[in-house]
């Protein structure tokens, strides 16, 4: 068998196993549109815009999805129950050896799962895929205590700038979350690169994305395999009003960093007016997962 064929078959095996994992747990596979009317408002993720002709000489802007998140949430709010999807996603302004403008994402949502039950299910999935290394679960705050001796949840903008300066790093950032991320990338990631499977959970509330907030933390987690980010998940906020607030916050930040002005996706908010069921969801980068398993 040629090397290419061998690789293709390995990849196919991975996809088959993932599908079987979810089918056996009665999670429904879905396919949602990838050509959307609204770009993502995520501060540091950019949609790729395309022009389509909806009629003769009527060019219209459309955006390739950067993740199937909102489309799947439309289904959840309408009563889809547990769902999963494997699809291509597209992002502008991605660079570096671990990033690409197009990659494959596995995204799934589990009704009445909290963050920790979802983490456990991902561990089951990894085991079934043959990744049986010991698992480390550590909270964001604990990781900073252990690997940096830093009380990250109680550090304000000034404290964080001082820490960055003491490490000889530029501290010219306007937001707490950017300095938290700088320190995470600089101090924590190199440490956890020694750990085969590492879940970091309970992110600071400033990095909540669309996760439920509980005091100083958000019920959000990330999976790192040998220091490479593989998955990002959270306990989902449920009401349309909360989504509106989070989107507005993202738009405000995009404005501050002089990114293109965007609007809140009103159609989405209308569609989820009934709210989302209590659930948790996660996105997993398939190519990164695949390379971590083949290695």
């Amino acid at each position: 068998m040629s090397k290419v064929k061998k690789n293709l078959v390995h990849y196919q095996d991975l996809i088959i196993k993932i599908r079987e994992f979810f089918y056996s747990r009665k999670v429904t596979e879905v396919k949602t549109p990838s050509l959307l009317c609204s770009p993502t408002t995520d501060v540091y993720i950019d949609s790729i815009a395309v022009k389509v002709n909806r009629d003769i000489s009527r060019p219209t802007d459309r955006y390739l999805h950067t993740s199937p998140e909102l489309e799947m949430k439309r289904l959840l709010s309408k009563g889809s129950g547990d769902i999963f999807q494997i699809c291509q996603v597209y992002r502008d302004n991605e660079y570096g050896i671990n990033n690409s403008n197009e990659f494959t994402m596995l995204e799934f949502y589990r009704i009445d799962f909290d963050m920790h039950s979802l983490v456990d299910e991902i561990i089951d999935l990894l085991k079934m895929l043959g990744k049986t290394d010991a698992v480390i679960k550590i909270s964001y705050a604990q990781a900073f205590f252990e690997y940096g001796n830093i009380d990250i949840l109680n550090a304000d903008l000034k404290d964080l700038k001082n820490i960055a300066n003491s490490l000889g790093l530029n501290s010219d950032y306007d937001w707490v979350e950017d300095l938290q991320t700088l320190l995470f990338v600089h101090l924590i990631e190199p440490k956890i690169s020694q750990i085969p499977i590492c879940f970091i959970y309970d992110y600071p509330k400033e990095q909540s994305a669309l996760a439920k907030i509980d005091g100083p933390i958000a019920h959000r987690f990330e999976l790192y395999i040998n220091g490479i980010e593989i998955a990002n998940g959270y306990e989902e906020i449920q009401s349309a009003d909360e989504y509106r607030d989070r989107f507005n916050n993202e738009l405000y930040k995009r404005k501050m960093i002089e990114k293109k002005k965007l609007l809140v996706d009103e159609e989405f908010l209308r569609d989820i007016k009934a709210g989302l069921p209590n659930c948790s969801g996660v996105a997993i980068g398939i190519e990164r997962l695949f390379s971590s398993i083949s290695l």
Partner: protein, 186 residues
């Protein structure tokens, strides 16, 4: 001249904390929900120390005017070590501190790599392998075939290297300058 993180690549020379440094590793990290960073490893060209820094992508740093030139080692007057660039015949000198361990390996006429910063020499790298002469060592012990790693020998530059027992005074030996190890008879 300033360089933005998008121009970072291995070997690029930049000024860091006032010293010229060379990039030895440049990694772009783009967290799923955060901004992009460059995690960079530098070597300080003066102290030789490794530094790790993380920059927000798009930041820029001042470039360092650093050149590496092949030069011939001429002589030492005890305070300075003198070199010549063979094409221009331009001469440069380095202090004992800047010479570092190169002092242990260079003999007159040797060709080595001298690093210039703003046209001033800052470091010198000797050839990977040099040929030096043994000026002092204990006589080989006949019959000792246990091969216990040899014996110390002082070479004509003053450096001490472990050599096999059969090597005697006046012999020429090859030394690996990266490890300070004997690598054969010349």
């Amino acid at each position: 001249m300033n360089y933005s993180t998008s121009q970072f690549k291995n070997g690029l020379k930049l000024i860091l904390d006032g010293n010229p440094c060379s990039i030895v590793n440049n990694e772009i990290v783009k967290p799923g929900k955060g901004q992009a960073f460059n995690r960079v490893k530098f070597k300080d060209l003066i102290t030789g120390k490794t530094l790790e820094k993380t920059y927000k992508s798009g930041e820029s740093l001042e470039g360092a005017d650093v050149m590496e030139l092949e030069m011939q080692y001429l002589y030492s007057d005890g305070e300075k070590w003198h070199f010549m660039e063979p094409e221009s015949f331009e001469q440069f000198d380095l202090s004992e501190e800047s010479m570092g361990s190169a002092i242990d390996y260079l003999v007159e006429q040797d060709i080595c790599i001298v690093t210039l910063w703003n046209n001033n020499p800052i470091t010198v790298v000797p050839p990977i392998q040099v040929i030096l002469e043994v000026i002092d060592t204990d006589p080989g012990l006949k019959g000792d075939t246990a091969g216990t790693g040899g014996k110390p020998a002082t070479l004509n530059t003053g450096v001490v290297v472990q050599v096999p027992l059969f090597v005697g005074i006046g012999d020429k030996v090859k030394v690996d300058t990266r490890t300070n190890e004997y690598s054969g008879r010349a």
